[in-house]
Symmetry: C2
Subunit: 305 residues, 2 copies
Amino acid sequence: MSSTCTVSILGCYAAAPGAFKNPTSQVLNIRNHVFLIDCGEGTQVALRRNKIKFVRIKHIFISHLHGDHFFGLMGVISTFSLLKRTAPLTIYGPVGIKEIVLLQLKLMQNFTSYPLHFKELSSKEPELVYEDDAVTVTTIPLQHRIYANGYYFQEKEGDRKLDINAVLNLNIDKAYFNKIKQGGDVTLEDGTIVPNSELTFDPPKPKSYAYCSDTRYKPVIADQIQNATALYHESTFLDSHEHLCKPTGHSTAKQAASIAKQANVENLILGHYSTRYNDLEAFREEAETIYPNVHLADDGKVFTF
Amino acid sequence: MSSTCTVSILGCYAAAPGAFKNPTSQVLNIRNHVFLIDCGEGTQVALRRNKIKFVRIKHIFISHLHGDHFFGLMGVISTFSLLKRTAPLTIYGPVGIKEIVLLQLKLMQNFTSYPLHFKELSSKEPELVYEDDAVTVTTIPLQHRIYANGYYFQEKEGDRKLDINAVLNLNIDKAYFNKIKQGGDVTLEDGTIVPNSELTFDPPKPKSYAYCSDTRYKPVIADQIQNATALYHESTFLDSHEHLCKPTGHSTAKQAASIAKQANVENLILGHYSTRYNDLEAFREEAETIYPNVHLADDGKVFTF
């Protein structure tokens, strides 16, 4: 069954945190999984302010090893221990993340109260890093100054929905319901075969969320995330600063919109704004010249799909 | 010349940061030196909010390797680079601090724009770690769950103050003034020796600031910091939780006051409160049963001595 999916923006500004501008972190709630994506300095405080229950976070996905995306990770890991957490936690991120965490835990003489696992990444191709009955997570290789991945969170297609009236009318026994929901036809006692299409409705379209930060304009991303429900794509710059994209490894709002259009996504969320800009509306206006359904991330905002 | 000395509290709460309670960090301004002491998560944001100029910080003193005292260090180091700092920065802290910082800088592929020095500490005796014409800094060995030092910041005694009327009355040439300020007597042309005490006033009493966090009650600290202008001493607990001091390596407000009294300091600042307490006044009341001049640290407060 498809359910509501929410993205809570804890921080969405590039580089050093400002007095009131948080570096990157966000929480995706999809099929009752609470995934923490990136973890800039101050993330644990932002989690508290946004009333997100620490214990529900079981997986943290780090895009790359620049400080504005991971300096809050040690604080989160330590505070989970202070709270006497017992549930396992898995960190996904570039090779090196494990050494950074374990070195500090060792020197702090302060190991975690819960099992801490790492899935270190080094592939330049998309890689399935998480899967369960309801959801998969695949890396989206990005092009930044250092090794970086976005993450593509996808609901699995749910079971077909039973047409209760149809099965009752045909006196079909409950024992067959699971088989029917999984797409099976039914043979009645008189030998008649009732095709599945007369017993069920299509399941809701699975939802999906693509997180892409930080990256240069990389059109191949669009191939991987075709028809996603929502794409968060960094837009550090406006087109007027496009010349800064190559040396810094970032994108403009226009380029983000171009990816959204090529991928035919339903929603585009812009973020990772350079703090040089005061007016975020300029990002929306620029992106809307290419693609219509543009949302602006901002600290504390929650998007529901 | 002695000048005003200020202590700006950026954060003074124990353990995990709360939504509006910062972990430990403070800025000491003494003889125009701006020393950053400890560096919990969020310190760089607190520096901005307190309008402290980053470029004036040339020395950072870390007491020990628990997260609430150093998780903000990488953010400060990185942001200094983003601001294209060129002035050298020196970090003082337990052995291991250098490895923690350099590992992360290496993996970030992002070396500093300025010379970064480390003075790693491992001695269990007081150690002079910084000295210039005006100020010395000496470690104060503490007793915590892991290796920890406080720091004792002391102004050097300044030159004696010239009694302008006296030297003019005696027609003493300006060429002798420096010698007189340094304590020398003067021989007049007729052979009379004028003792220094008739030509100068005593210099102002040098100021000193002792920072002690985190530590169990350790009376020998009082011997080292006799007559300090101000002592910041942790008071994680009230006396009602005194039984928690030994296992956690912390002190009560009463114990902090006892150190202040034994050291005959002029001012005691309490801080590093456990977040279990809502009313900080209870810390003051408890300490004042032992020692009279008690101040309560709180985030954003500035103390002037």
